[in-house]
């Protein structure tokens, strides 16, 4: 490829000008033309001393009310202009930030200089401009697209001014070995470059066309405004040609320098990313994170390249400035390059109970699950115990650690503690020998069982971060989740690796299972688990010293929410927090080294080795909980004399339905169970009762929690009976170490109340516990919202505490109705309707605009309705009579839409949209 732009119409010089009036969102008062002495970098400036370049820039200085807290220096990319930052100028002014958004020379409404501006020139040009402006004090650079490297170049050259860095969909390094993104490769092909960027506005049009959602016509016109003619677009082509894709490119040294210098930046950094970007794909985000590991990251799921158009970047930046910059501005050290941010998460990273938490702390301690009476739970929590400690302790123990009831069609297979410990050590060393390092991410797409357990503990031992995305997210959800987590390695069964290949994940691939060589080659398999273990044995032979261990605050795992209220969110646990989770589960159910448990519910099964309990996975399709039969459960119990059974409500339902097929042996085996629990979704007491009849000596329990913190509370069937009926579902008292508070709802259905423990007040459920996740992964804004009360995690569930300190869950915050009579939570209504004869499940949803929503009840009838319709008058009247608030309409469906993972969380948001359509007129479709 020819380096650099071809000489062309570069002689074009045009003066800078002001944008035309009337561009949407642009205040004409912001526009300024600034004459800047031309920097003479190497004494070859053609015009010589005294020459000036005229810039157009947007400057909101006049709008900033009160003292100016600092300056945002915004640099657009190619082929946009400062218009891209209009919302930030407005939001910045309101928040006390001066915003200077430049049009780079040759771009936007700045002068067409007749010169080619390479990366180094652009950085020097920008420095000359800020010298002329006389910028002082805290400066935060903001860059998009190829404005990113220019802004970073300015940042490393001005350590005395630099206070922070914001980057959106950009890159600072173009690796020579990696593929140039296809759209760009096409644009740079000989003959295409000039045509696509200069002679025709194709490059501009393509950029504008990839906004999600599409840009409004007038906004599109505003972006086109400075690039109406070929001679105004010369720099657009130069900019593309200046991307140093090969080693000989004249801008390559400047980019290499910059990429190295960026590693020294220690100022607060924010990376905002739109994943639907065909050019700046996720690997560029990973590269930036590698260079700026302290950065806060937020990926806006669904947004793309033109991120400031696709997402509310302005609010995000202002929120981040408030959180990260304010306390630093007063006593900023002279050399920000040496400054190291001391914390990575918003609010209180340790989850310590802060001052504000005191109100949630009842004097009598009833809402405090810490059994030793310790008020602050976390600090005085039992000492950190690494997740692999039991494996080390029992390395010589021949007792059974794991049983798989049906590994690949064969009979039961038992794995001893000593074998598991050895396998974990070999795999950890094998991964290490293969170049996997602490902090690398390993996605495990392996069904629950011995392979998954061994690989997971190997990663934990090594310090690699396990990414656990389950098939329950559905393939699109799983793919989105894994892509977002960006694993370095995927360990998967053949089906999963085939998907990884088809979906274009760039990770290295390790096979769990067996495939013929040709198939392995086709899937890009590097090795399988057997080979990895052999590699580990070889490594141990040459270096028997144990591998270094990760620390308690290092990341251990990324799990995913079920996505029933939006795209699945990655949830990061550190070793300390995951260890605390194992401790909390062990304590809540009295599980320890002599316990045996049947795990038909994957998350808890993985904790078995950490707790020291023997785990058996029953013969079932784990991706479909409904495939668990009563006999399969009894066989699993019998295999290890299990005292504890974990099963999802769907699996338990299936077992109860299949009870008739049990023989005497099976029934006898089930009498040995002392505790069974069902979790993952609200569990109807009727189901616990029915399952209790199958396991007559067991105490039925159901924990309440979520991917972000599990368990939060626990309740037994006896506890449910004692609680009786109330508004919502009683989920019991907090488990040891966990505390609860409620943030009251206001009239708009928002949880704006401070954390409090007042009984009877409905609001968002807040949890504080040592086993709360560390943070949402690469979702800084989401994390910030969830942690806005110091020391508390906001769960997104709504409910209330009763006088005994028990929690009653009333639904999801996103599902709260705002009716003319006030806010209304769904679960209480649903429970009343579900008690009616001939009704299965029910969902209470709101139709109409917020504030005037009408309550609509959607029910599954028994027997099921043939198709969705208005309920008959008789049922409608019974529902109205059962519910103590006005019911506008009752609809019947054959089956309510639920989440894929648990098959039990009703998707009320989707149902509400359907109900509104159904009740607006026209034929009633399916929800």
């Amino acid at each position: 490829m020819t380096p650099g732009p071809t000489p062309g119409p570069h002689a074009v010089t045009l003066p800078a000008q002001l944008p035309p009036p009337g561009l949407p969102g642009l205040d004409p008062g912001w526009s300024r033309l600034v004459e800047v002495p031309r920097p003479d970098r190497d004494g070859t400036s053609p015009a010589g001393p005294g020459a000036v370049d005229t810039w157009h820039l947007l400057d909101n200085a006049a709008d900033v009310a009160g003292p100016v807290r600092g300056t945002l220096l915004c640099v657009h990319g190619n082929p946009t202009w400062s218009y891209l930052w209009r919302d930030l100028l407005r939001a910045g002014a309101a928040a006390g930030w001066r915003v200077v958004a430049v049009d780079q020379l040759g771009m936007g409404f700045s002068a067409r200089t007749g010169r080619v501006h390479r990366l180094a020139d652009r950085i020097a040009d920008l420095g000359a401009l800020t010298d002329t402006l006389g910028l002082t004090g805290a400066v935060v650079t903001v860059g998009h697209d190829w404005g990113g490297p220019v802004s970073l170049g300015w940042a490393v050259a001005h350590p005395e001014l630099l206070a922070g860095v914001v980057l959106t969909n950009t890159a600072v390094y173009q690796p020579l070995d990696a593929r140039t993104p296809a759209p760009l490769r096409l644009a740079m092909a000989p003959g295409v470059l000039g045509a696509s960027t200069v002679t025709t506005p194709a490059f501009l049009e393509t950029t504008l066309a990839i906004a999600h959602p599409p840009l409004a016509r007038d906004v599109r016109e505003a972006f086109r405004a400075p690039y109406r003619s070929a001679e105004r677009r010369v720099a657009v082509g130069d900019f593309v040609a200046d991307i140093p894709v090969d080693a000989a490119h004249p801008s390559r040294p400047a980019l290499e320098d910059l990429a190295a210098s960026v590693r020294r930046l220690r100022v607060p950094t924010l990376l905002l990313w739109g994943p639907r970007d065909p050019v700046f794909v996720e690997r560029f985000l990973a590269d930036l994170l590698d260079r700026l590991p302290h950065a806060d990251v937020h990926r806006f799921e669904g947004a793309g390249h033109l991120l400031p158009e696709d997402a509310d970047v302005a609010s995000a930046v202002v929120a981040w400035l408030n959180d990260r910059l304010d306390e630093r501005l007063d006593d900023r050290p002279a050399g920000p390059l040496d400054e190291r941010p001391d914390d990575r998460s918003t609010g209180d990273p340790a989850g310590r109970a802060a001052d504000g938490a005191a109100v949630g702390e009842p004097r009598d301690g009833t809402r405090d699950g810490t059994r030793d009476g310790d008020r602050d739970g976390h600090q005085a929590a039992p000492a950190y115990r690494p997740l692999w400690r039991v494996l080390e302790e029992r390395a010589g123990d021949g007792g059974v650690a794991l049983v798989e009831m049906a590994p690949a069609g064969r009979g039961p297979r038992s794995i001893s503690w000593s074998l598991l410990a050895r396998r974990v050590d070999e795999l950890a060393r094998g991964l290490h020998a293969s170049g996997v390092r602490p902090g690398d991410r390993v996605s495990l797409l392996v069904p629950p069982g011995a392979d998954l357990t061994a690989t997971m503990y190997a990663c934990l031992r090594l310090g690699a971060v396990v990414v656990v995305a389950d098939a329950g997210l559905g393939l699109p959800g799983l793919s989105r989740a894994v892509r977002g987590a960006r694993p370095d390695v995927v360990v998967g069964i053949p089906r999963a690796l085939a998907a990884a290949r088809a979906l274009g994940w760039s990770s290295r691939r390790v096979l769990a299972g067996h495939l013929p060589p040709a198939a392995r080659a086709a899937l890009g398999v590097e090795c399988d688990l057997v080979e990895l273990a052999a590699r580990g044995r070889a490594a141990r032979a040459t270096d028997p010293d144990p591998l270094p261990t990760p620390g308690p605050d290092d990341d251990a795992a990324i799990l995913f929410t079920s996505g029933s209220t939006g795209p699945a969110k990655g949830v990061a646990y550190t070793h300390a927090r995951m260890s605390a989770m194992a401790r909390a589960v062990g304590a809540a159910y009295d599980l320890g080294p002599r316990s045996g448990l049947v795990a038909a519910f994957a998350p808890f099964a993985l904790l078995g080795p950490a707790i020291g309990a023997t785990c058996v996975s029953p013969d079932m399709d784990v991706t479909s909980p409904r495939t668990l039969t009563a006999t399969a459960l009894a066989d699993a119990v019998a295999a290890i004399d299990a005292g504890v059974v974990f099963a999802s409500p769907a699996a338990l339902t299936s077992v109860v339905a299949d009870a008739g097929s049990l023989d005497d042996t099976g029934r006898a085996a089930l009498t040995g169970v002392r505790v069974f629990l069902s979790a993952g979704a609200p569990v109807p007491p009727e189901l616990l009762e029915a399952a209790g009849r199958l396991m007559p000596n067991a105490e039925p329990h159901t924990p309440y929690g979520m991917t972000e913190v599990l368990p939060v509370t626990d309740i037994s069937l006896a506890g449910i009976r004692a609680a009786g009926e109330g508004e919502g579902v009683c989920v019991g008292l907090p488990v040891a170490g966990a505390r609860l508070a409620i943030s009251a709802l206001d009239d708009d259905g928002a949880a704006t109340g401070p954390p409090a423990g007042t009984p009877g007040v409905t609001g968002e459920v807040l949890v504080s516990a040592p086993h709360v996740m560390e943070r949402y992964d690469r979702l800084w804004l989401t994390h910030r919202a969830a942690r806005r009360d110091a020391g508390w995690h906001r769960t997104g569930d709504v409910g209330h505490l009763d006088a005994e300190g028990r929690l009653w869950v009333e639904g999801r915050l996103a599902h709260v109705l705002t009716t003319p009579a006030g806010v209304l939570t769904p679960v209480g209504v649903e429970r009343r309707v579900e008690r009616l004869e001939g009704v299965g499940r029910a969902a209470a949803v709101g139709v109409g605009p917020r504030g005037v929503q009408q309550l609509v009840v959607v029910v599954e009838t028994v027997p099921a309705a043939r198709r969705p319709a208005l309920a008959d008058l008789e049922l409608t009247e019974r529902v109205r009579a059962a519910v103590d608030v006005p019911v506008a309409a009752v609809l019947v469906v054959d089956v309510l839409p639920t989440d894929v993972r648990h098959n039990s969380k009703v998707e009320r948001t989707r149902l509400a949209r359907w109900a509104e359509r159904a009740l607006t007129g026209g034929r009633i479709g399916r929800p």
């Binding site: 003319p820 139709v847 109409g848 605009p849 504030g851 005037v852 929503q853 009408q854 319709a869 208005l870 008058l873 409608t876 006005p886 506008a888 309409a889 609809l891 509104e916 159904a918 009740l919 607006t920 007129g921 026209g922 034929r923 009633i924």
Partner: protein, 357 residues
């Protein structure tokens, strides 16, 4: 007394003192009220409710109204002299009289609804009327097919559907434009009023249901709000006595209980002991049929009101319900009679000595 909101009406002082008291009062003292169009169900109920509040009440309509305690004046809105005589000596007007319907030449609607209202406003101003309640309809602001929790938008005489809605929209606009410190004007838009003695909705529904000729459109699922007549009359009184900040604006009035059309029709049928409709016709078919029938009837005006028009088909097959918060706040009024209580009262009326069966 039908109003449940606990407002007080004081005895009217006399002479100049009365005028001063009127000026200063935030509470409303007794008015001398003219209610136009008191021959229909809502007009009669309104006249009765106004009189029951202690206001001196006169009604004005073409036929006899016969509301106890109300002075009956007969005449047409299109007769300027009759209008002037009716409004003479009045301090307040509730203007219900209108030509209602879905067919017929627009000029007939215009003569009554636009020109008649204009004449009444002029006469009222000349007579020194201080409060003028313009009774309008949600259809004046309704340009689409469905209403899902919307507030009262501005009247749109160009795009409103049908001659009635267009002429009422024009009338409401210039009535509100007449609002001034001397004569306060506001508009009330009751939606789908029904109750005992209703010769339009209730009687239409029942007579068709009795003959088994009442289909549900698309299963009758469309969510529709309606107004029990006593609530509507109550709202008129509240409007008449509205606080100063409420004037100059339009308010939709309903029961605030949207229900599927099927439930509404069923409530009426059950009150009358008539079988509840169960058969359904696709709304598109009904709208199409309505269009054909409309065209036929337009060519033969002598046939009277057609059985089904596109407009009616739409009303019975698409959602119509409203945001009532501003109405409740501004008029200090909330409906006192629930739908179910309304159905019970309708049943009692139909069973009673005056029942027409």
């Amino acid at each position: 007394m039908t109003s449940g909101s606990g407002r007080h009406v004081r005895a009217a002082p006399a002479g100049a003192a009365a005028d001063a008291a009127l000026e200063a009062a935030t509470d409303v003292t007794a008015e001398r009220v003219l209610v136009t169009g008191a021959s229909g169900m809502l007009g009669r109920a309104t006249a009765a409710a106004v009189a029951a509040r202690g206001h001196g009440t006169r009604s004005f309509q073409r036929g006899p109204a016969g509301v106890p305690g109300v002075e009956d004046v007969r005449g047409s809105l299109t007769d300027a002299g009759a209008v002037e005589r009716a409004v003479a000596g009045r301090t307040a007007v509730v203007h219900l009289a209108a030509k209602v319907g879905v067919t017929g030449p627009e000029s007939e609607y215009r003569a009554v609804n636009v020109d008649g209202t204009r004449a009444l406003l002029a006469a009222a101003r000349a007579a020194g009327v201080r409060r003028f309640v313009m009774v309008s309809s949600p259809s004046v602001a309704h340009v689409g097919t469905s209403i899902v929790g919307d507030g009262a938008g501005p009247a749109d005489p160009e795009r409103a559907r049908g001659p009635y809605a267009r002429t009422k929209a024009a009338a409401e606009l210039f009535a509100l434009a007449e609002d001034s410190p001397e004569m306060r004007v506001l508009a009330v838009r009751p939606h789908l009023v029904w109750g005992p003695g209703d010769r339009q909705l209730v009687e239409g529904v029942l007579s068709r249901a009795r003959r088994g000729r009442l289909p549900l459109l698309d299963g009758g699922a469309a969510l529709v709000d309606s107004t029990y007549v006593d609530n509507a009359a109550d709202a008129m009184v509240a409007a008449l006595e509205a606080p100063p900040d409420a004037w100059g604006d339009a308010y939709v009035v309903t029961n605030g209980e949207p229900r599927p059309v099927r439930d509404l029709l069923a409530g009426m049928c059950r009150a009358a002991g008539v079988p509840v409709p169960t058969w359904s016709v696709p709304a598109a078919v009904a709208r199409g049929a309505g269009g054909v029938i409309e065209a036929l009837w337009a060519a033969r005006p002598a046939w009277g009101e057609p059985p089904m028009t596109r407009f009616v088909a739409e009303q019975l097959s698409t959602a119509h319900w409203f945001d009532q918060r501003r109405t409740h706040e501004a008029l200090r009024w909330t409906p006192a009679v629930t739908l179910d209580e309304g159905f019970a009262r309708l049943a009692a009326h139909l069973r009673g000595p005056g029942a027409e069966d």
